[in-house]
């Protein structure tokens, strides 16, 4: 038995989606192409396919999540997989079991894909070394959130037709943001020019080496941008003092209709959620369907995750 299993593992090692950094441009485009087909399906009344029938998907969430977890949940179900979501905040991990023990336990149940979110950067990489199924990263620490970047790309393509040649601003708490990192890698790979805007204390070290320009001034950073991605202030990850106050932050870095005028006149706003209204974004702006893509991002998120599951969980 063991021999057969080993041979098959060598023949067909599982593919993992650990981050945009490990992705080739062809792979990224293939996911986006695949996802386009699912947009229509998700809007129809009959949404169920049987592509993943008989497959088992485990959602292993070590950090609380609403939209990503439900999005992966729905995506798996719509493809016909059996989906189990585990909220690890309340499980054996609090009894002292390590992430590796948990992984091995679940691995013994022969899942076909594990979708993991973890507060530590690199946790999905570690997991992927130890299990013999596909691992999909649903966000690790401040490192990567690949499906978020992919859904952002799909949303932009859906509205603007392309990414190449666009100017994209990512604004806010870049330091603590995995969304920012994945988006930087993906958008630059797909040919966009990326500006990151943040107060100096929330800007990661050597960020320019990732191929972006960095700004501390919204006016300069937003100049001519087609897309403005706002990020949440991740207070839960902040230890020590980074900012004087939320009020001062909003004054200089909060997106208001006035500041949006610095960007290109048909600029669109994105936000990965959850939003702190009145901290990083003006509440009316966030709900303005003419400029805000927030709802569309959530909608297309399901399509992107379906595409990822389909392509990686064979």
């Amino acid at each position: 038995m063991a021999v057969t299993k080993n041979t098959s593992a060598i023949k067909n090692p599982p593919k993992h989606l650990l981050g945009i950094q490990n992705l080739s441009i062809q792979e990224a485009k293939k996911i986006l192409e695949e996802a386009k087909a699912f947009i229509k399906l998700n809007r129809s009344s009959s949404k169920k396919l049987d592509i993943l029938r008989g497959k088992t998907q485990i959602n292993l969430f070590f950090e609380p999540s609403t939209r990503t977890q439900s999005s992966f949940d729905l995506a798996g179900k719509r493809l016909g997989a059996d989906v189990m979501s585990m909220n690890m905040a309340t499980s054996a991990l609090s009894k002292g079991e390590t992430i590796m023990d948990t992984a091995m336990t679940l691995n013994a149940m022969h899942p076909d894909v594990i979708v993991i979110r973890h507060q530590d950067s690199g946790a999905p990489n570690l997991l992927s070394q130890k299990v013999n199924c596909t691992v999909i990263n649903a966000g690790d620490g401040r490192r990567e959130h690949p499906t978020q970047a992919l859904l952002d790309a799909l949303t932009i393509i859906n509205r603007k037709g392309k990414i190449e040649g666009l100017k994209i601003a990512i604004c806010g708490d870049i330091l603590h943001s995995r969304v920012a990192r994945s988006n930087i890698y993906l958008m630059t790979m797909l040919g966009a020019e990326v500006n990151v805007i943040a107060p100096k204390t929330l800007m990661p070290s050597s960020v320019e080496k990732l191929g972006v320009k960095s700004f501390t001034d919204m006016k300069k950073g937003l100049d001519g941008c087609d897309i403005v991605m706002m990020l949440r202030l991740q207070n839960e990850r902040m230890q020590g003092t980074f900012l004087p106050s939320k009020r001062e932050y909003y004054e200089f870095f909060g997106l208001t209709p006035e500041k949006l005028k610095y960007a290109s006149k048909d600029a669109l706003i994105m936000h990965p959620g959850p939003m702190n209204r009145g901290v990083e974004i003006d509440t009316k702006l966030a709900d303005d369907i003419n400029v805000s893509l927030v709802k569309e991002q959530v909608e297309l998120g399901v399509a992107v995750r379906m595409a990822c599951l389909k392509l990686y969980c064979k």
Partner: protein, 429 residues
């Protein structure tokens, strides 16, 4: 024990500026009787045991100023027996052991225990450190006088730094009177908190908290300022950045007396080697940029850095097989200390003499011990190595109980062939 003569050796002993082909005669008490190019086989007694060194290099036994034993409390990571085997296989004959065991070496009865235990279980020379502050609290200084009288060689909080400037000033003031050696780990914890690797592009890409070079530099600057007022025997365990080196240079130019160490890891690796979250390369101080590594090598060359240490920190697999931020810090290295240092000779960064100096007579000078030399009359602690043997590091072949080497699969050139302790052959390949 009978007299021995080691013939056909290339003897390198920086303590007496010796680099020559010759022989060494070891007397029946395990001391060096005579040494050098003029010694012939006939100078030894007729009964003397003859050992052919076969033109390999013969140097004083290596002194490693920073290694962790594991006893008491962490025997599952390393014990005296396994550490000794690893050390001898690396040509190391003297070790300064770190006090962060469980319980800590911070009181007189623990010193008695550790010395007795070391004597029973280990054949090499062990020089135990005690903690700089009681319970590693960083507040109450240890009993320097009483502990020194019991045989403690120096005082260090190992991975912790005295954060409070007043406490550090008092420690240095008190220590200057007693003449005890203070060994500081330089890291400002407020600046380094949440960090686990060098702050820069790699930490940004891996999404890990970074430790800026400032955390190290600022403590060195503070301590060297205090040293003006309180001239104690002060040693910085390990430095990692070119900025720290800059501060050291300025202060040494002013004539201040202190000593500096560096880990072989920081001389041989940089932050890019961490790759895809290799936790065995999670070190403290962290691996930094290639330009820092080059600066540190230059620091050895110019004499700003006095010693190279292994910073041997055995960790079991469980404490390393965790997400990077949670994984334990450190790597083993005592067995590969010399072979990895020889890489710096083979790539023409340093001379052999310089490398050996930092591993033998320099640490002896700092520690004020009669080791690290082959002068007539000294203990015949000797390491013999082949400069050119190529080999590949495989954790499974290393003698340490823990297998967390930072240089798995590295191709090295040069290997220890024999190690003598007090004239006795204690290791042979």
């Amino acid at each position: 024990m009978s007299e021995k003569i080691l013939i056909n050796a290339r003897i390198i002993d920086p303590s007496q500026n010796m680099d020559e082909k010759g022989s060494v005669i070891i007397d029946s008490n395990g001391k060096i009787k005579s040494i050098g190019k003029n010694i012939k086989q006939k100078d030894a007694s007729s009964k003397a045991e003859i050992i052919d060194i076969k033109n390999n290099i013969l140097i004083p036994g290596i002194i490693d100023m920073k290694a962790f034993v594991g006893e008491p409390g962490y025997e599952y990571k390393e014990n005296f027996r396994t550490l000794t085997q690893a050390a001898l296989a690396g040509g190391v004959t003297s070790i300064v052991t770190m006090p962060n065991t469980k319980p800590l070496i911070d009181n007189v009865s623990m010193v008695d225990f550790i010395i007795r235990r070391g004597r029973d279980k280990s054949s090499i020379n062990l020089y135990p450190c005690a903690t700089l502050t009681r319970e590693l609290s960083g507040t109450q200084m240890s009993e320097f006088g009483l502990l020194s009288a019991k045989g403690i060689i120096g005082f260090s909080d190992v991975t912790k730094t005295i954060q409070n400037t007043e406490t550090m000033a008092k420690i240095m003031d008190y220590a200057s009177d007693l003449g005890v050696l203070i060994m500081q780990h330089a890291e400002d914890f407020d600046l380094s908190k949440n960090g686990c690797i060098n702050e820069g592009e790699v930490s940004t890409r891996l999404g890990l908290g970074g430790i800026s070079y400032i955390a190290e530099k600022i403590i060195i600057e503070r301590d060297l300022t205090l040293l003006d007022e309180f001239p104690c025997r002060y040693h910085i365990n390990q430095i990692s950045s070119k900025q720290s080196l800059g501060v050291i240079e300025q202060n040494k130019q002013k004539g201040k007396k202190f000593s500096v160490g560096v880990s072989i890891n920081n001389l041989s690796l940089n932050e890019n080697d961490i790759g895809d979250f290799k936790t065995f390369l999670k070190l403290s101080p962290p691996l930094r940029l290639e330009e820092d590594r080059i600066a540190l090598v230059e620091g050895i060359k110019s004499g700003l850095i006095d010693v190279i240490v292994s910073d041997h920190r055995p960790e079991d697999e469980e404490s390393k097989r965790l997400p990077f931020a949670q994984a334990a810090v450190g790597s083993i290295g005592i067995e590969t200390l010399l072979p990895l240092a020889l890489e710096l000779y083979h790539n023409e960064s340093l001379t052999l003499n310089k490398i050996i100096e930092t591993l033998t007579c320099n640490p002896a000078k700092i520690l004020k011990i009669k080791k690290g030399t082959l002068k007539v009359g000294s203990d015949a602690d000797i390491c013999v190595f082949d400069l050119n043997t190529p080999w590949v590091v495989k954790a499974e072949n290393l003698k340490s109980k823990s297998k967390n080497t930072a240089i798995e699969d590295r191709k090295l050139q040069g290997k220890v062939m024999m190690t003598f302790l007090n004239g006795n052959l204690a290791y042979k390949i």
